[in-house]
C-alpha cells in the first residue's frame, strides 16, 4: 500500500505519527509530516496503524494511492 501526504493540507497535528510511528515521521523542527508532498510505502503489517493515522488526521491530508 502507498499513501500520499498533501503538503498543502498538512498543518502539523502530529496524529499520523502517533498512531503509526513506523509509517509516518514528523519533522523534528516543526512537527509537520516529514514526508509531506511525497508518496510513501506503508510497510507490510502496518496497514491498520496507517489507516488509524489517516483517520485521525484532522486535515484529511493523507490519502491512499492506487498502484
Amino acid at each position: 500500500m502507498k499513501v500520499y501526504i498533501d503538503e498543502e493540507k498538512c498543518t502539523g497535528h502530529g496524529r499520523c505519527a502517533k498512531y503509526a510511528p513506523n509509517v509516518f515521521r514528523l519533522n523534528d523542527e516543526d512537527g509537520y509530516n516529514a514526508d509531506a508532498g511525497k508518496t510513501i510505502d506503508v510497510p507490510v503489517g502496518e496497514e491498520r496503524n496507517a489507516a488509524l493515522g489517516m483517520k485521525s488526521c484532522p486535515e484529511r491530508a493523507i490519502s491512499v494511492v492506487e498502484d
Partner: protein, 413 residues
C-alpha cells in the same frame, strides 16, 4: 449534563416553533453563543446541531453564521482565501481592539510568523517539558492532598497551564499569573463588552512591558527572543512592535484560556465514572487515547470566526461577502457522519477524528504542549488520588461563549 447521562432524542424537529419550545429560541435562525441556555444545555445543543443543523444563523449584533458539519468546517478552515482571519476571530468584536497575530492574520503574513514560532512548540521541544510539567502537577497536588478535598479549578486546573506556559516556556514569574488568568477570563466572558475590552487592555499592557524589558536583556534564544527578532513580511517591511506584542498576547490567551476546561472535564468524568477510572488505572497506555476523546468531547474552543471574502454557499445557505462566519469546531468533533455514537464518551474509541485544536493553517500552535499537560494531569492525579468523587453540592459550573470554561469543581477523597 455530561456524556454519562442518557442521550437525548435526536430525531426532533427543526421548525422554529419546535425549537422555541425545546430550547427557548429558534436555534437555526436566531442562535446566540452567549445565551445562558447554551451554557446550561451545551451537550444537548451541540449534539442536536451536529445531527440536524449544518448551518445556523445568529441575529445578535451584526449577525453571524455558524458552520457545523465536519466536512464544511474543514473545507472552510482550509480555504483561508475565502474565509479570512484578518478581520478577527470573535463575532461582534469590540471597537478598537487590536488584532492578534498570528490568529487574526492570513498567509503570507501568518506563514512568516508560524514558521519562526512553530519550532518553539514542536512535539520534540514540548516533550522536553514533560518532566517539569509532571513535577508541577505533583507540587500542586502536594498542597491539598492531605486536606482530603480541593476546588479543582482554582487549585489545579487554572494553574497548571499557566505554569507550563509562563514558567516553563516563557520563564515568567508565576506571581503575576493570577492577574493574567483573570484578565483573559474577564476579557473573554464578561457580559459587558466594554469590560471585556478593558481586561484585554490590561493583559496587553503587562505583556508589552515584559517584551520591552526583555529587549534590554541578554538574549536567551527562546520564544521571546524569536518574537523580538520579528519577521520580514513579503512586501519587505519588518513586523512592527504592535504585532510582536500581539503574538505574545495571543499565545497567552491560548496558553491559559483553554486547557483548563479539558482537564476539569476529564477529572470530573473520571470522578463520576469509577469504572472508566479503573480502566485507565489498569491500562495506563490508554491515557493518550483518552485525552483525545476528552478533547473531542469537551472543546474549550466552541467556534472561531472568519470573514467571507466573496459570496459563497455552504450546505445550501448563501453567505455574502463581508459576513461573519463561525467554524463550530465543537460540532465538527461530534459529526455523526464521521464517527459512531458521537454523543457518547468512549475512551477506547479508535482513530478520533476531532477538530478541537482547529483545522487549517491556524491549527493550534500549543496543541503539543496542551497534550503533555493533559497526559501529565491524568497520570499523576490517578497515581496520587486514585479514589475520589465530587463533593456533595460541588458539581461543576461553567461559562460559555465562543469559548467554554469550567469555573468550579469541588472534589473530595
Amino acid at each position: 449534563m455530561n456524556g454519562s447521562s442518557p442521550t437525548e432524542p435526536l430525531d426532533q424537529e427543526t421548525t422554529p416553533e419546535a425549537l422555541i419550545e425545546r430550547f427557548g429560541r429558534d436555534l437555526v435562525n436566531d442562535f446566540d453563543l452567549d445565551d445562558p441556555v447554551f451554557n446550561d444545555r451545551f451537550d444537548e445543543t451541540l449534539n442536536f446541531m451536529a445531527h440536524k443543523c449544518p448551518v445556523v444563523h445568529s441575529k445578535v449584533g451584526k449577525g453571524y453564521y455558524m458552520i457545523n458539519t465536519q466536512d464544511d468546517v474543514r473545507a472552510a478552515a482550509q480555504d483561508w482565501q475565502t474565509f479570512s482571519s484578518a478581520k478577527g476571530y470573535m463575532p461582534n468584536r469590540p471597537d478598537g481592539l487590536p488584532y492578534l497575530m498570528p490568529e487574526e492574520s492570513d498567509p503570507p503574513i501568518h506563514t512568516r510568523w508560524r514558521r519562526v514560532l512553530n519550532p518553539h512548540l514542536s512535539p520534540k521541544v514540548c516533550a522536553g517539558y514533560e518532566q517539569v510539567v509532571r513535577d508541577d502537577a505533583n507540587a500542586l497536588i502536594d498542597k491539598f492532598i492531605d486536606r482530603g478535598e480541593c476546588e479543582f479549578i482554582s487549585e489545579f486546573g487554572a494553574l497548571l497551564p499557566g505554569w507550563a506556559f509562563f514558567k516553563n516556556v516563557l520563564g515568567l514569574p508565576i506571581d503575576d499569573l493570577a492577574m493574567l488568568v483573570n484578565g483573559v477570563e474577564e476579557g473573554t466572558f464578561a457580559l459587558d463588552l466594554a469590560e471585556r475590552a478593558r481586561n484585554f487592555g490590561e493583559v496587553f499592557e503587562y505583556l508589552d512591558k515584559h517584551l520591552q524589558w526583555r529587549s534590554t536583556q541578554p538574549q536567551r534564544g527562546d520564544l521571546i527572543d524569536t518574537i523580538l527578532a520579528g519577521v520580514t513580511y513579503d512586501d519587505g517591511t519588518e513586523s512592527p512592535w504592535e504585532h510582536k506584542v500581539s503574538i505574545l498576547v495571543d499565545l497567552t490567551f491560548g496558553g491559559i484560556a483553554t486547557t483548563t476546561f479539558v482537564m476539569g472535564s476529564a477529572i470530573h468524568h473520571l470522578a463520576t465514572n469509577p469504572d472508566q477510572r479503573q480502566l485507565l488505572i489498569d491500562n495506563p497506555e490508554l491515557v493518550e487515547n483518552a485525552i483525545e476523546e476528552y478533547a473531542r468531547f469537551f472543546p474549550p474552543v466552541v467556534a472561531l470566526g472568519r470573514t467571507a471574502t466573496a459570496d459563497v454557499e455552504v450546505a445550501g445557505t448563501s453567505i455574502k461577502e463581508g459576513e461573519f462566519v463561525m467554524l463550530t469546531y465543537a460540532c465538527a468533533s461530534r459529526d455523526p457522519r464521521h464517527m459512531d455514537e458521537p454523543e457518547k464518551i468512549d475512551l477506547s474509541r479508535e482513530g478520533i477524528p476531532h477538530s478541537t485544536f482547529g483545522v487549517g493553517p491556524h491549527r493550534c500552535i500549543g496543541s503539543n504542549l496542551a497534550r503533555i499537560e493533559l497526559i501529565a494531569t491524568l497520570e499523576e492525579w490517578l497515581k496520587r488520588i486514585p479514589e475520589y468523587r465530587v463533593k456533595p453540592g460541588g458539581e461543576p459550573t461553567y461559562v460559555t461563549g465562543f469559548l467554554r470554561s469550567m469555573r468550579t469543581l469541588q472534589l473530595e477523597w
